[in-house]
Symmetry: C2
Subunit: 456 residues, 2 copies
Amino acid sequence: MEKQLPYKIYLSEEEMPRKWYNLRADMKQKPAALLNPATLQPLREEDLTPIFCEELVKQEFDDTTKFIDIPQEVLDFYKMYRPSPLVHATFLEKALDTPAKIFYKFEGNNTSGSHKLNSAIAQAYYAKKQGLKGVTTETGAGQWGTALSMACRYFGLDCKVFMVKCSYEQKPFRREVIRTFGASIIPSPSDTTEVGRRILAEHPGTTGSLGCAISEAVETAVSNEGYRYVLGSVLNQVLLHQSVIGLETKAALDKYGIRPDILIGCTGGGSNLGGFAAPFLGEMLRGEASYKIIGAEPASCPSFTRGVFAYDFCDTGNICPLAKMYTVGSQFIPSANHAGGLRFHGMSPVLSELYNQGLFEARAYEQTSVFEAAEMFAHAEGILPAPESSHAIRAAIDEALKCRENGEEKVIVFNLSGTGNFDLYAYKQFNDGTMTDYIPSDEEIAEALKALPKVE
Amino acid sequence: MEKQLPYKIYLSEEEMPRKWYNLRADMKQKPAALLNPATLQPLREEDLTPIFCEELVKQEFDDTTKFIDIPQEVLDFYKMYRPSPLVHATFLEKALDTPAKIFYKFEGNNTSGSHKLNSAIAQAYYAKKQGLKGVTTETGAGQWGTALSMACRYFGLDCKVFMVKCSYEQKPFRREVIRTFGASIIPSPSDTTEVGRRILAEHPGTTGSLGCAISEAVETAVSNEGYRYVLGSVLNQVLLHQSVIGLETKAALDKYGIRPDILIGCTGGGSNLGGFAAPFLGEMLRGEASYKIIGAEPASCPSFTRGVFAYDFCDTGNICPLAKMYTVGSQFIPSANHAGGLRFHGMSPVLSELYNQGLFEARAYEQTSVFEAAEMFAHAEGILPAPESSHAIRAAIDEALKCRENGEEKVIVFNLSGTGNFDLYAYKQFNDGTMTDYIPSDEEIAEALKALPKVE
């Protein structure tokens, strides 16, 4: 490691990646094909183009092109908030009194507050290029909806965001950011769609669910001329766009001759770890290097650590394609007391395949322990982390404490995917001491897995 | 201007300022002395040391030392979020179709969301160095309270923040950030102080005021062993610390050979413009250069543009020292419909003296026009600006549009002092179309000015 290592490493504009890295090109065993939910047969590109933008469908299916040019228009937008800094967490090292070297890539340094913008701007670009009028999507916590509203505003696209009603009511500020960027935001279930009206008739008092919001967004996209549906995680295309995080991280580490031992990201749908770890996983797949890579997930929704690797629906309503992935079952509903994000029952097919191959490990963390790590990090490094990202912080702190015990000077790099500035209800629970943990029982998971579709 | 100008200019750690610049040292006519509110005689250092930290009192009175070393402990903390980027606003230039070159210094890139942290960490450092247990302060919108809680946490100081009760209730999220950094936050008026109890007895339903919160914070500081009171604006010491903004800005401009024509900052108490413009005002005072410098203030609280230059109390309760400053009167209460911050009736004595000497001009803006500028900026540059900072954006946009009219390629640099992430009630009003303007009548200001103290 060189002497003149700064606290924050910024790449110059010339050093920034100009291509995304497609991890699938380096996989011998490719991720399994998506299945048509009606026929259970492998999806073809033409099955998806009525729903998704054409270029994005191509990217979804492309598992051979190793590098894909980032369009100039997207590079222009990236300049606004990229490169994100790679920070040498010297204050955290000191607080932990560890010989470990800790670095974090900080993706929260933009108004959307998270890494989601990396894919939102790409998806908006391809929608614009296809001559579409607009896109639809759903949002839970609101990070994706915010990112997409910013991206659509930039390209002059209409943007319709279906926000789960309870989040719409609990997060009025997220809503206002989205509105400020000119998107329409509709509490779901709504009376603007057939599926919404049906659910409202059946369950008049419902506060909605992500599954229902997805159904409304898809229906709106396919029933309006010039609209398509876009999604912020899980999909191969999203991991492709998010590879910019890992490419920048690797370039910054290489610039100072730093070789990471341990790489950590949190996992919900996989866009964060999948993007951050992509070039490092690629080196492992090509037999060029070996790293310890850790996916940090919530104990309340433990897809990797307690799920099965099987075909499952991507949504609760079972109208979306099936993916072969680690899943606790599409009917699994994370406990309502879980505040920390990462509530998706399944996982990116790419990461699922790699996890199955043993390329990385996963750990599940309870939320009070995650918020303890978040608070420790905030006090040391002066950044209020997102609950999601704090799962990665928890894992990083645990590894650094192991280094202290063993006197090992390991290099730990994690992705700080976002800030918690809009998640202060969760911090309030933690500050008030009213936050509790919930670990689903084996029976609960087994029950949810009974609904797994029978494939083959 | 060189060709290779990047979108964002970051100084390296070696290029960062290591001294604050004390603008007063270059002033021939110094700002007038503060007066004791009881005797109306000039304050001496020993009058202030029971209330303020010793070193800060020295800085308050020091109008001859041109450069003051930034303590290493403060430099260490600055590394966490400094240097802040100087951004070449190419997207805004394009949106305005202007030949002007627009740059902004972005001070919102830290968890407190504003430039206030620059002085908070310095004040906390001197309190720690003096061996104090803690500090007290008041906060309105919450930016200063957040910054101070972060700074105190870093040095292990206790921090008691009196937050105006209506803000405490309307901004629960600000409150949680402050709590997360370990400060106690007390809605004011409270029953923890004599003045608070008296006000509660007289006005049981009151939602508080900044003046009352100041009184509570001062009382708590002087009546608790090992505590002092700290303040986030107006004072000379605060402008000194905030000079780091201007020094970095100048270093970044110089690095690329850019000579600004117009410099803009918003003005409430003056910490923002006073820090940002300090080195440029210094050049003007020394006769080395000439710039057009603009202070942008709210039309609803127009200290510079409609106030008088006179001795006045710094607080509504008239218990704080008197300063010679531009003021609309300590009894002037900005309209409740004003959402955009900058509600202080007076102004930094340093800036007031310089304004009186004609070194810069001031303009007043109505808040709907300010939020229009904020929205335009957010759409173009992808950052949601603080309402306060958006006054500077409004002025910058107006200047850039003049350049379009006249075909002039002027260089406009403004300070984007903070983000609006915690000001979304105001954005909601704007998005809903329910935001209105209020311009005080001449009679209203004349009435408030009747309460000006008779000095000499």
